[in-house]
Amino acid sequence: MSVGRFNHNGVWAIYQFEIARALRTLGQSLVAPVISTSLYFIVFGSAIGSRMREVEGVSYGAFIVPGLIMLSLFTESLSNASFGIYFPKFTGTIYELLSAPVSFLEVVLAYVGAAATKSIVLGLVILATANLFVDVQILHPVWMILFLVLTAVTFSLFGFIIGVWADGFEQLQIVPTLIVTPLTFLGGAFYSISMLPTAWQKITLFNPMVYLISGFRWSFYGQADVSVGVSLAATFGFFALCLVVVGWIFKTGYRLKS
């Protein structure tokens, strides 16, 4: 009675468990982000946007859609994945995970897969919501999906790492609120980098979020702050970095086993 090469029942059990958790808190996991996105549209899109000129041929309301989706994708992937693995550590139920015939990579696959699924669905829901307010075009749908999935997976991996590292609930919040959200706001979620003074443009290029947002926006409107190739490379680079860190956790058993 061995589990064989791949414990698909085990991975599926964790995946379902995580999805069920989201469904149980549907308000928190879906309704809240939709409401806050709508608020963004009302404030930025309608109230301010009506006084703003178009950004490179796209209405301001439509221009901010990709940035808004990215912002939600970043924060929701992080919080979902970090909470998913942190909570069993906190309650002690992780004993079961550690004593089960699942490999660390299977655990990562299940948690990250579930968190990414949730944020992809969320991203699509936000896109649909946005479509109610403004006219959204998607020039390169395949690329759009690729960026969406890759970003969701990468930030879910990142969130998983944070969840493993965290020692308390406050620490779960540190990275999303102190690093990711500010960098996203400064990274051109709501404006084009070209609108900034030249010196700021240079500095902004050190912000990794610029590349992720820019590539995603390109898939919508065909316009980008940096070339798409660079965006894609940056996204893959970040993904690879997270994989390396996860691999290191795996090797050392860091913070999961005593």
Binding site: G10, A13, E96, A100
Partner: protein, 336 residues
């Protein structure tokens, strides 16, 4: 009789496991936690297939640590654990589906329903969904009526049952119960014992830890005593009981005796306290204890006595003396 023997021989020839064989083998197991605290040292232990083994020891002795290493929750600092010759670290994917663990602490998913959390465990251990098995487990544990309840609404005893159900969801061959009756009322304790016996009948090997000697006596086939991270005694319960069966009768004499009278030579009598006391050792389980004989002969010999007392060394006493024996020399060892 004959056919039974040849069946065993046949099984041995084919290398198949049988009842009573060694199923779990622990060698030189040691653990030093990150803080530098040594929790286990040089533990060697064999568990036989189908037995109930009770691990007895005071708080902090290392019982949970030992179980946690076997189950893969804690990494050993030294030593090995194997199940049917397979290393529990290297071959964990083959070993772990066969092992179930009920932890000491009530770690539960508060928001989950009983049914969901128990089915989850089955899947996690790599098994296909089987609602009938889950139903059976829940019924056996009197949890069926509670299957739709969220765990946080259950009492502590019910939560403990849920943890047992989770551990049984994947039909393990070896079950670890870490203090299954801690904080549990008398009725549930009886139920628990029943359950464990039922499991054993079904061929499951059970290893349980406890502080209660009565529990070990009631349940176990063999008993191991652990103290300060060392396994200091492993014995058949029957052997222990036999030792326990020995009682002593002390007879306090009015006048001290120079030597033991020859007339008492055929009895198990010794002269103690410089001739002030006689001690008769007898087996309480025997029909003839020898007490009436001794007292009659003393009367015939004109030996007067002041007082009589009997005593029995209980498992409790053996346990306490073993544990304290191991505690004291520590300081002495430290001095060169």
């Amino acid at each position: 009789m004959h056919s039974e023997k040849s069946a065993v021989a046949e099984r041995d020839r084919r290398g198949e496991p049988g009842v009573g064989d060694r199923v779990l083998e622990i060698r030189g197991l040691g653990k030093v936690y990150a803080g530098g605290e040594r929790a286990l040292e040089g533990v060697d232990l064999d568990i036989r297939r189908g037995e109930i083994f009770a691990l007895l020891g005071p708080n902090g002795a290392g019982k949970t640590t030992l179980i946690s290493i076997v189950c893969g929750i804690v990494t050993a600092s030294e030593g090995t654990v194997s199940v049917d010759g397979l290393d529990t670290v290297r071959d964990y994917r083959r070993i772990r589906p066969r092992i179930g663990l009920v932890p000491q602490e009530l770690h539960t998913d508060a928001f989950e329903s009983v049914w969901a959390t128990v089915s989850f465990s089955r899947g996690l251990f790599g098994l296909r969904r089987d609602d009938r098995h889950i139903e059976k487990v829940l019924r056996d544990l009197s949890l069926w009526d509670k299957r739709k309840e969220r765990i946080m609404h259950l009492s502590g005893g019910m939560k403990r049952r849920v943890l047992i159900a989770k551990a049984l969801a994947h039909e393990p061959e070896i079950l670890f119960l870490d203090e299954p009756t801690a904080g549990v009322d008398v009725e549930l304790r009886r139920d628990m014992w029943e359950l464990v016996r039922g499991l054993r009948t079904g061929g499951v090997t059970v290893i349980l830890t406890t502080h209660y000697i009565a529990e070990a006596e009631e349940m176990a086939d063999r008993i191991g005593v652990i103290s300060r991270g060392r396994l200091i005694l492993v014995e058949e319960k029957r052997e222990l009981i036999k030792k326990l069966g020995k009682k002593q009768l002390r007879v306090e004499l009015q006048e001290p005796l120079e030597a033991l009278p020859a007339e008492l030579g055929d009895l198990q009598v010794a002269l103690l306290s410089e001739g002030h006391e006689l001690e008769l050792t007898f087996d309480a389980n025997d029909e003839r204890t020898g007490i009436p004989t001794l007292l009659r002969r003393l009367g015939e010999l004109g030996i007067h006595y002041r007082d009589l007392s009997t005593r029995q060394s209980s498992l409790e006493e053996i346990f306490v003396s073993l544990v304290s024996e191991r505690t004291e020399p520590r300081g002495a060892e430290a001095a060169p």
